[in-house]
Symmetry: C2
Subunit: 436 residues, 2 copies
């Protein structure tokens, strides 16, 4: 594998590989590294490589011509790729690293200042890669990261190939903790299982630790991993233990389904009817995500009587023995006359309440699903209420009084008429989904 | 700000900052960088810093004691933090960079080999940080990335502070393309708007380009960003243009709701009844995500007649004028007698069909939501069918014949009885959600 680096600071890249495992591979000739300086391809007396931005803006941009000439000067292998390191690129990950390791040559272009002229990218670059969502001063460190990670995958560079494959990210989970001598350090002994010599127990312990760490530190990775049934069972156990200590994720969250005040399609304020299916489906969703309360809000007395009859059927009557799942789900449901009643519910318990509304209109949006999720998670004392409207949606007064409003659940086309049951299911999944 | 680096390769880190904007800040004394080598804190004649793993495994681990002594030897400022660079850490991002820039001192510990003894981390490290989901040979490059990104945020390090704030990730979107002289390069002119001098038009163009790039390259960033109504409208326009060229995301996807063969709660194979609400809610969800067909599968003739009456009411009768949204939704629905009929539908069109089943039992899981989503996206010719079961779920025969099976939608507790309407809504959101 050959690495050709287009850089204004060749020594910066070269010195990164003076030592270490990749440095030794370079010295042995298992890989080759060569730098080309775009400054050597300028024609003016000042050897200018940068210039100001068209359209204004602070900072300078690298000019296209010296970069283009530098890339053109590199002798090309047959399986070769020109990569520009940039925060606009595709995030580098271990799958991409393995893909790049299959090539014969990587030409890595390092930007500086505010970046490079877009036309250089359009005409000379095969792929843009980002090493992460942060800003650094130039592409040199990013190129070095690519060289290091790719070089490690090339046979011969690392002594034991197994050492690479056992590293993190090869199975989609974080690595287990490791220990070496002394047996005791800071009064802490090495876990007994590791010195027991029982191979199978050690493997099991490491797998469980991997899952535990991934769940605690990078639950997002679990979404992309196919777990075995055994791993899934282990993980559910870890999650439960965790929640016994910290409380369940939905334990400070309730929802309310509002039948008044809402709009009809002529934008008049109306009261909608309670429907049997809204009670059933949303109860089951609320129970699935383990929220605390499901408030059904309507001022109409006869509707309260109807709701009472329905729930008694499922919680006390024939339905409770026929289908006990519904009884469990209905446990969380309460009928109240107004949103003010809901506020009062929390007020009399001395609890602070944060209200988040949902809307099909993006003009109200002032938060994101991950942000709301994080808020609920970090402060377990504050109670949260998520509002869902019936009819043609919650009134402007309710929207204005809400602390937060989530973005609409837009599909891919223009059709925007999910049932409130489906909208509630999707909203709660987006906020409470815990992987996998 | 002071950076103290615990490393076996001090020159590797130091030479990264011999030049460039951070290098100049070092020379001016705006920041300070000092390396400490754990090898200087060994007591044996070989100056050993590594040892084998307890419990077996290839590779070597860095010993706790020399690292602990090296960290202890560093003179501490009052607002100081010890950071271990590791793939097990929290991912570095620009928010974390800004947080770190508020401190007076960062002590950055660089691992080598297979990592470090866990007890060193437990007793001496405040925080673990990862620069990305890939494996590199040691923490030195990662520490250099942290130093560079953090140093840039310290007043005085970069000439114009605006230059930093205009960089990517400060608004949650990717940066717009930039251009510098010459006006023409490779026969491509700079976009006219940028040389027009109309400030407002330039801003608007850059905003639109930012959205376009983020949508094409990093749609995941949009989930974490609150867009203005104007940005959202712009984005929907970009998405529509894109789909006009490449086809809508759901255009090669259909779903089927299976009423036979499914299990009852005693694990007997039965036929369930079609319910009005399943037709309505799931049609609306299918229409929202713009899937192609919604097959309702039941062998019972009288049910076909019932379904015909319901749909005629909404598509031709009173319901079609009362609520035209339902008519639109029902357009995608078809009644068929068996899963074989569905296969035949695609076979006679000469289309390859991939079947993905859903199940509440994790034992069948063999794919992930992002993986299925990617498959559907990348090959637009192959048709996909997602199966949803009624009753107590799809039979083992159906599960075995499916090409893929998605993980169950587990809530946070033990309750696992979502309605099929809610499960379908959540599943399709997970697969088809396009941000925001």
């Amino acid at each position: 594998m050959r690495f050709d680096i287009i850089t204004l600071f060749p020594e910066m890249v070269q010195s990164c590989f003076a030592e270490g495992v990749v440095g030794r591979a370079l010295q042995r000739g298992d890989i080759a590294l060569k730098c080309v300086n775009p400054r050597d391809f300028t024609s003016d007396v000042h050897r200018t490589v940068d210039d100001t931005l068209y359209g204004g803006g602070s900072g300078m941009l690298m000019k296209a011509e010296p970069l283009a000439s530098a890339v053109s000067a590199v002798e090309r292998a047959s399986r070769s790729r020109v990569i520009y390191l940039s925060p606009q690129g595709q995030p580098l990950n271990q799958a991409k690293v393995r893909e790049l390791a299959e090539l014969e040559q990587l030409i890595l272009v390092c930007g500086r200042y505010e970046g490079v002229d877009q036309r250089f990218i359009d005409h000379y670059v095969d792929e843009e890669i980002s090493i992460g969502d942060y800003v650094i001063s130039g592409g040199e460190l990013a190129a070095s990261v690519v060289i290091d990670s790719v070089a490690r995958c090339i046979p011969g560079v690392i002594g034991q190939v197994q050492s690479v494959t056992e590293d993190s990210f090869f199975e989609g989970l974080l690595d287990a903790p490791h220990y070496t001598r002394p047996a005791e350090f800071e009064a802490e002994a090495v876990p007994a299982v590791l010195s027991g010599g029982h191979h199978e127990h050690i493997e099991q312990w490491r797998e469980e630790q991997s899952l535990r760490r991934t769940w605690h530190k990078r639950p997002d990775l679990l979404e992309k991993t196919v777990l075995s049934t055994r791993q899934r069972t282990m993980l559910r156990k870890i999650m439960r233990e965790d929640w016994q200590q910290r409380g369940m994720p939905g334990a400070n969250v309730s929802i309310a389904l509002i039948h008044y005040p809402v709009y009809n399609k002529r934008h008049e304020v109306i009261t909608t009817s309670v429907t049997n299916m809204d009670l059933h489906d949303i109860s089951r969703t609320v129970r699935t995500f383990e929220l605390t309360n499901y408030f059904v809000v309507t001022p109409v007395k006869s509707q309260h009587e109807l709701m009472g009859r329905i729930t008694r059927h499922w919680t006390e009557g024939y339905g409770s023995t026929y289908n006990p799942d519904r009884k469990e789900a209905f446990d969380r449901m309460q009928f109240v006359h107004s949103l003010e009643d809901v506020r009062e519910h929390f007020r009399k318990r001395g609890q602070r309440l944060v209200i988040t509304a949902t809307s099909a209109n993006p003009k109200w949006t002032n938060t994101t699903y991950p942000h709301l999720s994080r808020m609920m998670d970090q402060d377990r004392e504050t109670q949260h209420l998520i509002l869902f409207g019936t009819g043609w949606g919650l009134t402007d007064e309710i929207m204005e009084a809400a602390d937060y409003v989530l973005p609409p659940i837009d599909g891919n086309g223009e059709y925007n008429h999910l049932s409130v049951r489906s909208a509630a299911a999707i909203t709660l999944d987006r906020v409470f989904r815990r992987y996998p």
